[in-house]
């Protein structure tokens, strides 16, 4: 069984859409190559299906539009066949998991970790309320992804 795979994605030039991007980069610095694999990207692409198939558990970190700004959501993701326009411009976590199973024979258990955004306007920083949620998400992901003794 492989290691935990953490994928943070989003556009860091669209304010809170960059939440996944900033969070995964912070997690990568904390882990310094130990305990879990971290991928930071602008969007989910078909190339992620193979590393997903090799991981024990996947965490997808992204901004959300549902709920109140700053709310943290931790939801299980199940594989679901992607929409027919997928794998070109838009991939979803569920669609990627399904593709991983179809192409490489397995998909991991997966969780979507999201924070409700306040703003998707042009900008390279997070809104205050989303920025305040970032360290809480980082801490929770680190606790999940690797045991405390590995992080010390």
């Amino acid at each position: 069984m492989g290691e935990v795979l953490i994928i943070g994605y989003g556009n860091p030039l669209r304010s809170d859409d960059g939440f996944g991007w900033h969070t995964s980069r912070k997690i990568a610095r904390e882990l310094a190559g130990r305990g879990a694999r971290v991928i930071t990207c602008h969007q989910l692409t078909p190339e992620l299906a193979e590393p997903l198939s090799q991981s024990s558990h996947a965490l997808f970190i992204d901004a959300d539009v549902e709920g109140e700004p700053g709310e943290i959501h931790w939801r299980e993701v199940l594989p679901q066949a992607p929409a027919s326009s997928a794998l070109t411009h838009t991939c979803s976590p569920a669609g990627l998991l399904s593709s991983a199973k179809l192409l490489y024979g397995r998909c991991p258990q997966a969780t979507a970790v999201t924070v409700t955004a306040q703003s998707f306007e042009f900008g390279d920083s997070l809104s205050p309320v989303v920025s305040a949620a970032l360290p809480k998400v980082v801490e929770r992901v680190l606790q999940f992804a690797c045991p405390d003794e590995l992080r010390k």
């Binding site: 190339e47 992607p82 027919s84 326009s85 997928a86 179809l102």
Partner: protein, 489 residues
């Protein structure tokens, strides 16, 4: 039709005007639509490609320092940023009047090869494979990458792996896959690390095997497309591509060779700075994409094609062993000059193989690890032209600066733009052969879109206007009759 499900462009049939509009052409980069005019018998009388995006890079970069141009123009596109980075940097090299270090040239070319491999993989496996593998008339709901994934998982895996390899080459050299800042005027800004070189080299055998496997598969299915091959934009045209001094395929450097439809060299080794002696640009109505043409022949008859098919038509050979073997078989099967636009797909695969082999040769040269990677200078010439072979064809960046180095004028001729007239002609040919307005079927219109896809256009990149943009307003009555119209002068 549900546009969200991917391959369901909006098709409007205007009566009594008898016009079909494919809006939008799917599975291409950028946005375009096709209008097909029918006569009273329901047969195709006229067609046009409309590129509906407008960008403005040549205008809003006026006043910017020349050395910003590679980074700014890279933002024209998220698929082709490397091409603009390279052409823009070469234009800046010319403004600086520098000859960049040999190591820098090698590194830029390796990056470029990675870009060609990933771009051709995207075009073949993701954009065109649904038509080629599932059939032009297959159900649009599943005629997409998902359909390929379900029915041909081996090929889908190959496509993903090949594109990933190309992207990893880019990331390994330039640290970022999209809009990297590594290529700069005068060279590149960091040398290649031995570990990165070794990692790329270790991935090459699998990548080459993937392309060879795909070539073998594709050659095996060519017979299924006899009608498409016969009617997919195979009208005679000139061809243009970069070659080296010996006539070999050149993607990074070289001069333009123009050949006529019979394969005779018309003009050879045109240097970047002299392109405007042979390439003119015209504006087309109802499209934001200008139409380059071969100046000695004039507009609109000076049609020429660029890109993989054109390159393999103008070059003497590729210069790497496996690609050369495929190149020889390509021409043996299809002729000294291969006119059919359907064969862009075949040519694209051969070029992907060339890109991998060329990358390997450069990486195995000890000079590639050299530390001299950048030439430094200021403005020594107030005009510079950079030219490369982008995956889709010749890309030209032409800048003029003032004494302080601020851009005063810029002109970009992007690959897909060169092919504008040819794509229009190809659409007309396909529509005339396949489209019957009295018995309209989806597969007919998919073939019109498919010929556009064969050129692997990047309309986002290529849309650049020439001169004053047209304003044309038409007022139609409830029955569709034209009541009034207004055109700008």
């Amino acid at each position: 039709m549900d546009e969200e499900s991917g391959d369901h462009p909006i098709v409007e049939v205007w009566k009594p005007m008898r016009k079909i509009t494919i809006d939008a052409v799917t599975r291409i980069e950028g946005h375009a639509k096709v209008s097909i005019q029918l006569d009273d018998n329901g047969k195709v009388s006229d067609t046009q490609l409309h590129v509906t995006q407008i960008r403005g890079f040549e205008k809003f970069t006026e006043g910017r320092p020349y050395y910003e141009m590679p980074s700014i123009t890279a933002r024209i596109c998220g698929i082709c940023p490397i091409s603009h980075l390279l052409a823009g940097s070469k234009a800046c090299d010319a403004i600086m009047s520098v000859r960049i270090p040999e190591t820098a040239m090698q590194l830029r070319e390796i990056l470029h090869c990675g870009q060609v491999v990933q771009s051709h993989a995207l075009s073949f496996f993701h954009l065109s494979a649904p038509d080629l593998l599932l059939g032009m008339d297959s159900d649009p709901a599943s005629r997409n990458v998902l359909g390929v994934l379900e029915k041909f998982p081996d090929i889908a895996r190959d496509g993903i792996a090949l594109r990933k390899f190309g992207q990893q080459v880019i990331e390994g050299l330039a640290k970022e896959r999209i809009h990297p800042s590594w290529v700069v005027p005068g060279g590149v800004n960091t040398p290649l690390e031995p570990a990165v070189r070794d990692k790329i080299l270790s991935g090459l055998p699998d990548a080459k095997a993937t392309v060879r496997r795909t070539l073998k598969f594709f050659k095996g299915v060519l017979d299924q497309f006899k009608e498409e091959i016969e009617h997919f934009g195979n009208a005679p045209s000139m061809y243009a591509g970069l070659v080296d001094s010996g006539g070999k395929l050149q993607l990074y450097d070289g001069g333009i060779r123009f050949k006529d439809a019979d394969g005779k060299i018309v003009v050879d080794h045109v240097a970047a700075r002299d392109y405007s002696n042979f390439i003119g640009e015209a504006a087309l109505a109802n499209s934001y994409l200008k139409a380059p043409y071969f100046k000695p022949v004039g507009f609109p008859d000076g049609v020429y094609r660029v890109g993989p098919l054109a390159r393999l038509n103008v070059a003497k050979n590729c210069g790497t062993p496996m690609a050369d073997a495929e190149f020889a078989e390509f021409h043996q099967r299809l002729g000294k000059i291969v006119p059919g636009s359907f064969h862009f797909h075949y040519a694209r695969l051969i070029e992907a193989l060339y890109g991998l082999e060329r990358m390997e040769a450069l990486l195995n040269d000890p000079a590639v690890l050299g530390k001299q990677i950048r030439a430094n200078a200021g403005v020594n010439c107030q005009e510079g032209v950079g030219m490369i072979e982008a995956p889709r064809g010749i890309l030209i960046h032409h800048y003029k600066v003032n004494e302080e180095g601020a851009i005063t004028w810029a002109n970009l001729i992007v690959a897909t733009g060169h092919n504008n007239l040819a794509i229009n002609r190809s659409i007309h040919q396909v529509a005339q052969h396949y489209v019957d307005g009295n018995h309209l079927q989806e597969g007919m219109l998919n073939r019109v879109s498919a010929v556009v896809r064969a050129y692997d256009p990047c309309f986002s990149c290529s849309t650049h206007a020439s001169g004053q943009l047209d304003m044309h307003i038409q007022l139609f009555g409830p029955q569709g009759s034209l009541l009034d119209e207004l055109k700008s002068a």
